[in-house]
Symmetry: C2
Subunit: 463 residues, 2 copies
């Protein structure tokens, strides 16, 4: 056996493995020889193989799996999507809040998450709906249902939309598997790569994540307390945007509401163009006094309204909808069949029974009162820390707050995460990265004093 210097030995092992990967003797996903086996085969020490494997891990040629050994790294997926997951700085990545919140266990505090605590949700209504549906007709339990989705629920949604003066025929409403799914289908219908889409700055972080998967260019329009900035909206129209995605009712993350004056000005501009407004109405049930809707003014000529029931009824029974003009509904049906075949029929029947139960209306009234109380308590709790609301929202669960000068929301969020508190740092909502000093609080998830203690400690640590 030839005598080699230690580093040459390590390199020999590396070259041997790389050659096997390049020659596809070891294919992607294949398990590498054990340390002992390879040491024996190449006549080197086990520690030499360990070091060689460690360097191959660093070079991302192989990966270690606890208790299972080393494996050849998989084939890379296309760049198109890889770009959506910038792991180097996941903290302000739009997906970070979602993943941390969804993966959190029950010991985590989640003032940054976008939904209500479990005990605020109407579980009795859902249990009752499950029992009711267990006696439904066979076709509802086993069949695919109509392409548009459960007829009764579509009628009910059309009725509910009338509360905000939006007039839709039930056949202009297409059921989807969630509110996110609804926006995604609309994007698939209208967008090609490199198209331009307008969004608010700040806006719901998942709009960024979703639009990145569509490989489009986004232009962020600063959100004033009562709607998008008119001058910047007007200027952005020169780029021939295809869609403008927004919340009219309760704006996420600011809690602002669109004013009638701004809605009117925006529509006058939009009607000169081919732009379509996608109005995400997901928080409609939480409003005291409904804000104006673009679809109430314009009908469905250039407006698509989407919504869901996950915020006030259940996030476990996914269901969303798209309301728009007949021509687009027809195309959306084809797209829905091609990409998910049909929505969940059993689920839509459960939701229909829960929504038509008179207890649902009572539940929503109770929710609105709880949110109003929690809103004022959260403001009081944040005040001693110098964290101030940007506006006092009229309704909803979100409070958009500014940190005292010199503090970074990202840094505070990192520290708080290590203490089991999941925050929502402002830049996750801003493509311009203009919200480094902001945090979004979900007032329903902000009752625990440990949140404010964690914030205080983090601010002291950064001082």
């Amino acid at each position: 056996m030839e005598k080699l210097a230690p580093s040459s030995k390590i390199e020999r092992v590396i070259t041997f493995i790389q050659q096997q990967i390049d020659d596809r003797v070891l294919v992607a996903g294949a398990r590498l020889p054990s340390l002992r086996q390879l040491a024996q085969q190449l006549g080197v020490s086990i520690s030499t193989v360990i070091e060689a494997y460690a360097r191959l891990v660093t070079a991302q040629r192989i990966e270690a799996r606890a208790g299972a050994g080393y494996f050849v790294t998989g084939i890379r997926a296309s760049y198109a999507f890889t770009a959506i997951a910038p792991r180097l700085d996941r903290e302000v990545d739009p997906l970070w809040i979602s993943r941390q919140s969804l993966e959190a266990n029950s010991t985590h505090l989640k003032p940054g998450c976008g939904w209500l605590p479990e005990h605020w949700m109407p579980e009795d209504l859902i249990r009752k709906a499950l029992r009711t549906v267990s006696r439904s007709a066979t076709s509802h339990l086993v069949g695919y249902g109509q392409p548009l989705g459960f007829t009764e629920l579509r009628h009910l949604i059309a009725q509910r939309m009338q509360m905000t003066d939006v007039m839709a025929h039930p056949d202009q409403i297409l059921l989807t598997d969630s509110g996110t799914h609804a926006i995604d289908l609309v994007c698939r219908l209208f967008l090609n790569p490199n198209d331009v889409v307008l969004i608010d700055d700040p806006c719901y972080f998942n709009f960024h994540a979703l639009l990145k998967t569509h490989q489009v260019k986004t232009i962020s329009i600063p959100w004033t307390t009562t709607g998008p900035d008119l001058e910047q909206f007007s200027a952005a129209l020169a780029h021939k945007p295809r869609l403008y995605i927004t919340n009219s009712g309760i704006h996420n993350p600011t809690g602002g509401q669109l004013s009638l004056a701004i809605a009117y000005q925006i529509l006058k501009m939009v009607e000169q163009t081919d732009l379509v407004i996608v109005e995400d109405d997901i928080f409609a049930d939480l409003e005291y006094v409904p804000a104006p809707r673009y679809a109430a003014l314009n009908g469905f000529a250039q407006v698509i309204q989407i919504g869901s029931f996950s915020k006030t009824l259940s996030a476990s029974m996914r269901c969303g909808y798209i309301a728009t003009q007949n021509q687009w509904v027809e195309q959306l049906i084809d797209l829905k069949i091609a990409t998910c075949f049909n929505n969940n029929q059993l689920n839509t029947e459960l939701i229909y029974h829960a929504l038509t139960d008179h207890a649902y209306r009572k539940h929503v009234e109770w929710l609105k009162q709880q949110l109003a109380l929690a809103m004022s308590k959260t403001i009081q709790n944040l005040q001693p820390l110098g964290i101030a609301p940007w506006i006092i929202p009229q309704a909803g669960m979100f409070l958009w707050c500014r940190l005292p000068d010199g503090y970074s929301a990202k840094e505070i969020s990192k520290i708080c995460l290590s203490q089991g508190v999941i925050l929502a740092p402002g830049n996750a909502f801003s493509t311009h990265q203009s919200a480094e000093q902001f945090l979004r609080f979900n007032v329903a998830q902000s009752a625990d004093q440990r949140i404010y203690q964690a914030l205080q400690r983090a601010m002291q640590q950064l001082n």
Copy 2:
């Protein structure tokens, strides 16, 4: 009032309306003046306006809605998707069978559809699962759940996969909203426009519809009775395809099964490339003797397996899964959050309870016996018409049949549709349009003698 010849009057009305549309006085979706109103305004007769509107409808500038009047045609959606719906010849469009089958009423006979009759489905199991879940923990009823999906169901799926020698860790399994949704997510992860994808010829028609939405190029590999044609598969690899989408277990539409010899040859070729095989295992529960799976030979190095429960349990509770290597699972989670936030948690729990009920196994055994009986009866019923099976499938619901020489499946399908019988003409399954003489029969939907009477009449009519 100027005296005009009738045709000039009609043109004057047309010009007036077109000008208003071009000037955006009448925007897309806007309602046109009533017949009477416009007749008065322009000083023409109502019949002149009727004729003018009719011509504008033909020109697709406006559209008539029953009982509601005339409306300006909406803005066109992007070409990308419009291309998927060639309405001029919807009969052999991949979406036609889906839409006709989904939109059919109870008087239609559906030998062309891809699912079992309602009374073949285990409704009691589902009713029982609904009652069980009505007593579940609150978090299961109202929460979003884990990004991967309900843990117990993922464990169960991993166990079920072992029946075909496919070894997956439960964390390598991601739940989705349906089998179609699973394939769509995989396509979104791997494909960019103009990428090349291999499919079988014939193959499940919705693969065509789905791949068109991804704007990729497809290469169809002729399907032999035991797998893809090896020579043509090998030749297609020169085009650097990203994915090969196929059914290994029971092939749709032919009912063929992959042989071990072909699986081995295909994998040896694939391992020299970056191609990923997407193995749609949706009919697994209907097999008597499982066919080999690519994932059993290759693991998840270059194979992604997908499946669902809509064929044997319920199409109303949508749920699918993706099983693959850890790295891709991580990326698929991000993509799932961005595009649909999460799958339906309540639903996955219902499915878990139904699948773990010992009555499910009995139901599946019963189904397989029924299908075997229906298979031989369908063959007997078709024989007098000269319609012969391409192969006798070992299992499943599909029978791929050749018409006597000189008959067009498309023409026969058109005639039968007018008689309330929905067939599945061969070219809906073939991008090469090489299956004009074939029909796919779902033997479970083919018991009614009126189907064979309609076929006979159609063949006589075409003779």
